[in-house]
């Protein structure tokens, strides 16, 4: 009896929170149903809350889950499905299927991190595989929106860089925990260079930022960060000398960022329409289903945040940003409670990657930084992106589960008497 009391009950999000999430999506889909009396919407209004209920409570019985993280992520994923469904029903339904795949992958990642004793033997395979996968589009890739970083496989296209994220996080954390700083940074630099050659600057920036953050976390050396930034600067200068026309193309993006209004119908069209969509929304939005954000090119992908602000308003947009911040803070909490250096760095890397991705794309949307085409985690349309984001959450949960197992062990040790040998 006593033992049972000592076993800490895993505290989950309160019923109030999950009920709020369920109510939110019931009302939202029901509202869409009222718009055109489409029975599909009504069905979704009933099914989505049930999935959320299962996703927040039921799933935690299947594997060691951090339920707060899960509920936040479920909310964002469902928001993505809602917004995509409202813009184009097929995309919404596809996204819902992607979500199912993603959850399976997330559970896999959690179990992997929870039970894998060490990545010592697979690390080299991870590294080589990552570089090979990243370089693959150079050979058989297809180009999309100017970035040559897609592979078409069996009629479906995906971005290897999304999958490589996971391997990259694990290998970097592994090597940094072993204090192989130079090797790690070299590996990261190779990945970033391969991406930059493919014109996929958004992902390159994301990898670069994550590597620097992790390097700093492991060494605490500002010098390292300075060297990283300096190296990137040198690479840009070198790139300018080797491939001036490509560099000019990248610079034109910066010019568009500085003043998109100069060419409203041309180069600046996308970002201007995004800004206008947000301005139409204002603080409170025009109402779900009442906006016309489909005029933005890539509205379902890069500019999904503009669509959210358009229909739900900037206040709601800020709430979404805060939710990402909470996911990040939760990740950092997990990292600080982790038992080993590897796990601490791994969770930090995951939190940093999600946070930086959000910063890069939302910052691009609101014209805080130049726009680079990457996805908004959990919300943007796209199978690979959703799966990899959920895998990152899976890794965080694996780390949390592992440190919790450690605490349980300690507790048992203390109950036995523990102490020095």
């Amino acid at each position: 009896m006593k033992e049972k009391n000592h076993k800490r009950r895993r505290s989950g999000p309160g019923r109030a929170m999950v009920s709020a999430v369920m109510l939110f999506f019931f009302l939202a889909f029901f509202l869409l149903f009222l718009q055109d009396f489409n029975w599909q919407s009504l069905a979704l209004a009933l099914i989505v809350p049930v999935i959320i209920l299962f996703g927040s409570f039921g799933i935690s019985r299947l594997f060691p889950a951090d339920t707060l993280l899960l509920s936040l992520v479920n909310f964002l994923c469902a928001l993505g499905v809602l917004v995509l469904y409202r813009l184009s029903p097929e995309r919404g339904l596809t996204q819902a299927l992607n979500y199912g795949v993603g959850v399976a992958a997330m559970i896999g990642c959690t179990l992997l991190i929870r039970y894998m004793p060490s990545f010592r033997f697979v690390n080299w395979a991870f590294m080589l595989g990552s570089v090979a996968l990243l370089a693959l589009p150079l050979l058989i890739g297809t180009e999309r929106n100017g970035a040559n970083s897609w592979i078409t496989f069996g009629g479906r296209s995906f971005q290897p860089s999304e999958i490589v994220k996971i391997a990259l996080l694990i290998s970097m954390a592994h090597m940094l925990a072993k204090r192989k700083v130079i090797l790690t940074m070299g590996f990261a630099a190779v990945c970033v260079l391969v991406l930059a050659v493919q014109n996929d600057f958004g992902t390159a920036l994301l990898y670069f930022g994550t590597a620097l953050v992790l390097g700093y976390a492991a060494t605490g050396s500002v010098l390292l960060v300075g060297a990283g930034v300096g190296g990137a600067g040198a690479a840009v200068v070198l790139g300018n000398m080797i491939m001036p026309e490509r560099f000019a193309r990248a610079m034109s993006r910066v010019n568009v960022w500085l003043d998109p209004w100069q060419d409203v119908q041309g180069a600046g069209y996308q970002i201007v329409q995004g800004l206008i969509a947000m301005a139409n929304g204002g603080l409170w939005g025009v109402g779900l289903g009442a906006g016309n954000a489909t005029v933005i090119p890539e509205h379902y992908n890069d500019f999904i945040f503009a669509v959210i602000v358009n229909e739900f308003g900037m206040i709601f947009g800020l709430l979404v940003v805060l939710m990402y911040a909470f996911i990040m803070i939760r990740g950092i909490m997990i990292a600080r409670n982790a038992r080993t250096l590897f796990h601490a760095l791994l969770a930090t890397g995951c939190a940093a990657m999600i946070a930086l991705q959000v910063f890069v794309i939302i910052g691009g949307n609101i014209k805080l930084i130049p726009l680079t085409g990457i996805t908004l985690p959990f919300i943007s349309y796209g199978g690979t992106s959703l799966v990899s984001s959920l895998c990152i959450i899976g890794i965080m949960q694996g780390v949390a589960a592992r440190s919790e197992a450690g605490v349980n062990e300690d507790r048992e040790l203390a109950m036995q008497g523990g102490g020095l040998k």
């Binding site: 929170m17 939110f24 409170w284 025009v286 709430l319 909490m333 040998k421």
Partner: protein
């Protein structure tokens, strides 16, 4: 539904959506806060959670908690901090390896000796191993119940220097009455009104003069993590956990 009517309804609903979003966020924030607090409390209840033992500074007699992996040295961020001549800012990397012991890996160029034998390559320390870093002399003490070879049975590649009587303590996961008195000095105890759980003879004291009524503080207090409770003797901890 007509366009205008739907638009009005949607505009009404957006406030509901924002309100629900706020509710979700507030609950999440509450949860984050609660979890952080619960974790802190848990760590207070388990003072050696995540630790695998302690390091006793043989020169001062003070002990420091030993985590699973980390750094020893004189720098501020070190897990085991030894401010002594000859100890570099980052002197030694250590990591606990299941089934083998505490792996001690000297930083490049650091002077490290285990049981008086200088080591260059990583070596494993066990419970009771004496290690010398520069001018600092420390002894590693590991908790019972860890998956470590018995130092008595295990032939280390360094020559043990300690005497037989210490070898006797080492092989015990035994009842607590026989816990070795590794502390070089035992001082009379100052008792605080609030720590009634600790009887004077059970508490391990800091060496050196102490004013009556002053709390026993761990060494290098400014560097201690907030949740670190000075390492009392295992007996005390045992009694505490029984009382719960």
């Amino acid at each position: 539904m007509s366009g205008e009517a739907y638009e009005l309804l949607a505009m009404l609903m957006r406030y509901v959506f924002v309100a629900l979003g706020v509710v979700i966020l507030l609950r999440a924030a509450r949860q984050l806060q609660k979890d952080a607090r619960a974790h802190k409390k848990e760590m207070k209840r388990l003072p050696d959670a995540g630790l695998i033992g302690e390091v006793v500074d043989l020169d001062t007699g003070k002990s420091q908690p030993l985590p699973r992996e980390g750094l020893m040295g004189s720098g501020g961020g070190c897990d085991i901090r030894l401010k002594r001549r000859g100890v570099r800012r980052r002197h030694v990397l250590f990591e606990f390896v299941e089934g083998k012991g505490l792996k001690i890996k000297p930083h490049f160029g650091s002077k490290v000796a285990m049981e008086g034998v200088e080591i260059k390559a990583p070596a494993y320390a066990l419970h009771g191993t004496n290690v010398t870093l520069g001018n600092a002399h420390i002894r590693i003490r590991l908790f019972a119940g860890l998956n470590v070879p018995n130092p008595a049975a295990f032939q280390m590649d360094v020559q043990p220097m300690y005497g037989e009587e210490e070898m006797v303590y080492a092989d015990v996961p035994q009842p607590f009455e026989q816990v070795p008195q590794a502390m070089p000095v035992q001082m009379p105890v100052s008792r605080m009104p609030w720590d009634d759980a600790i009887s004077p003879d059970e508490a391990v004291q800091q060496p050196g003069p102490q004013m009556p009524g002053q709390m026993a503080v761990p060494a290098l207090e400014e560097e201690m993590p907030e949740d670190y409770v000075p390492y009392a003797s295992p007996v005390v901890r045992h009694r505490r956990s029984e009382r719960r």
